[in-house]
Amino acid sequence: MTRRGGATTGGIAVTLALAVGLLAGISAAQQPAESVAQCLGCHDDPQLSLTLKDGSVMSLYVDPREFARSVHGSQLVCTDCHAQYAQDHPSGATFPTKRAYVIAAYETCKKCHFDTYTRTLESVHYELVKGGLDSAPVCTNCHGAHNIQNPHEKRAMVSRSCATCHQAVYERYARSVHGKALVEEGNQDVPACADCHTHHQIEQPGTKRFRLGSPEICIRCHADERRMAKYSISTTVAQTYLSDFHGVTASLTRAAASAASQRVVVTCVDCHGAHDMASPRLKGQAAMKATVAATCAKCHADASPDFPAAWLSHYEPSLRHAPLVFLVGLFYKIFIPFVVIGLVLHLLLHLYRVSAGR
């Protein structure tokens, strides 16, 4: 063991190594790598394992190439995370189960990722961890331990790691217009799980609060002109929803946080689906109309097949889309100022006559 202590000591060591390295004219990166190599001297053995108190066997193998390829590979040495094994090593057998080891070990992430760690404390996952659910994820369950990749560069991996537990939802997502584009085409414009559910402060979905807040999630991308232009998707979806009866109800109910029935509040996901949203354009006009009618009928049981025409399908009224609505609006745009100006003029003339004297 050449390295002792925690990150601070490690940091000083790196700085010292850098200075020494620069002076000596050798690459500074070699210094921490030496330490990793020392650990891997034993841990590169695939057979290396440990029997825990519950009798289960925990592998102690670390794939050297996998670690080298990980985001930490060139930045950290083993004892940055496994500080406790800098001395009195080995000591893993004190853990009753593998889960107990994971729970004890993952908190080491907060040494560097304090903000993200703190956010997880407010997530639904942490609630489950606290409740003692063994399958509830901690940092390493989603990000891995020795093979951690940059989640910003490999977004498809984010969704796949969610799939570890949420397999059924992932399959629905992977078939959706978003999931297909990400999984099959590597499209970076579409959302992976965490783009909607957030990465660390993951809220309990399915609650009233989450449902009413969901339009904001969709609007983040669907009101983005540049992104939507690539796919010829209208960015008026957001404002047309918000000016619509459903949208007004949703946003006002959210503000009031009243005990009003959730059923009557329709958000994006009620019509488009949450994980299985399909592109309405792919199926053609007639099929699209039928789909919309069926969607309306989910809540409006007695709605006729023509009922969807009662809704402007996210279009601003124009002579092409909803001409009647457009013309009624245009009529009032002219008629109201006309009447108001007329009445004011009449009133002013009256006052003028009175003040001028009869």
């Binding site: 918000l242 009866f245 007004v248 109800t249 946003s251 006002l252 109910t253 503000a255 009031a256 009243s258 009003a260 009557v264 409006h300 007695d302 709605a303 006729s304 023509d306 009922f307 969807p308 025409a309 009662a310 809704w311 402007l312 009224p317 909803a322 009647l324 609505v325 009624v328 609006g329 009032y332 008629f335 109201i336 009447v339 108001v340 009445l343 004011v344 009449h346 009133l347 003339l349 009256h350 006052l351 003028y352 006559r353 009175v354 001028a356």
Partner: protein, 228 residues
């Protein structure tokens, strides 16, 4: 410069007329307070009103209740007016005649100094008649579009469904127009003009000063008290 009859009052409005006016004030006010925040739901003021009244569901309930009540009053008014005329118990004094349009032109000529005297008006002058018919048509539009919005499923079965968003645009704009007319024309024109300031009380008390009747409704005065 008060003329003869300055302190003498004569009856001008029946209890039924006064009751209708008071009820319209109440219901129209309730509809405005519950309706305007729905027209502009994203203003802070609207949110304040909606929250104060118990949330959007309560506001919609109040709005519909007031709308039904006003529609009922409207129907009762029409029924009363028609039966009154049919049974010859009242005169169709609100009906528009050619004289009203002539009066409007003559009155405007008087305003701009092209005539020496204003026209002589009957029981209701053209301004009152125009406003009355505006109210009748406005109420019809509001009630009709309001019920279309209240029962969209039903109406989409019997009429083209595009009528529903059209009814929404109509309801919302007609409401704004009605509000502006009441504000500018009725409040300012009927109550705040120099002749009536601070308010014309006859629709509340049912009585009008005899000299005011003579000045503002000369033809009615002549009919009731003999011409000069």
């Amino acid at each position: 410069m008060r003329e003869a009859g300055a302190t003498e009052y004569v009856v001008r409005f029946s209890f039924w007329a006064r009751f209708q006016h008071a009820t319209v004030i109440l219901l129209f006010g309730a509809l405005l307070v519950t309706g305007m925040p729905q027209k502009w739901p994203y203003l802070d003021a609207s949110r304040w009103v909606i929250d104060s009244l118990g949330g959007i569901f309560a506001v919609r309930w109040l709005h519909r209740a007031a709308g039904i009540a006003l529609s009922g009053l409207f129907a009762a008014h029409l029924a009363g007016a028609v039966t009154g005329v049919v049974t010859r118990r009242s005169q169709p004094s609100m009906l528009l005649a050619r004289k009203d349009f002539r009066d409007a032109v003559d009155n405007l000529r008087y305003y701009v100094g092209r005539a020496e005297t204003p026209p002589r008006f009957g029981r209701f002058d053209y301004r009152q008649k125009f406003e009355y018919w505006g109210l009748i048509f406005g109420a019809a539009i509001m009630a009709l579009s309001g019920f279309i919005l209240y029962f969209p499923i039903f109406f989409s079965r019997v009429l083209p469904a595009e009528l529903i968003p059209a009814a929404k645009v109509m309801h919302s704009n007609e409401a704004l127009l009605a509000f502006l007319i009441v504000l500018i024309w009725h409040m300012a024109g009927a109550h705040l003009t120099p002749e009536s300031f601070p308010m014309d009380t006859s629709i509340f008390t049912g009585k009008i000063r005899k000299d005011k009747l003579r000045r503002e409704h000369a033809l009615e005065y002549d009919e009731r008290f003999g011409g000069q």
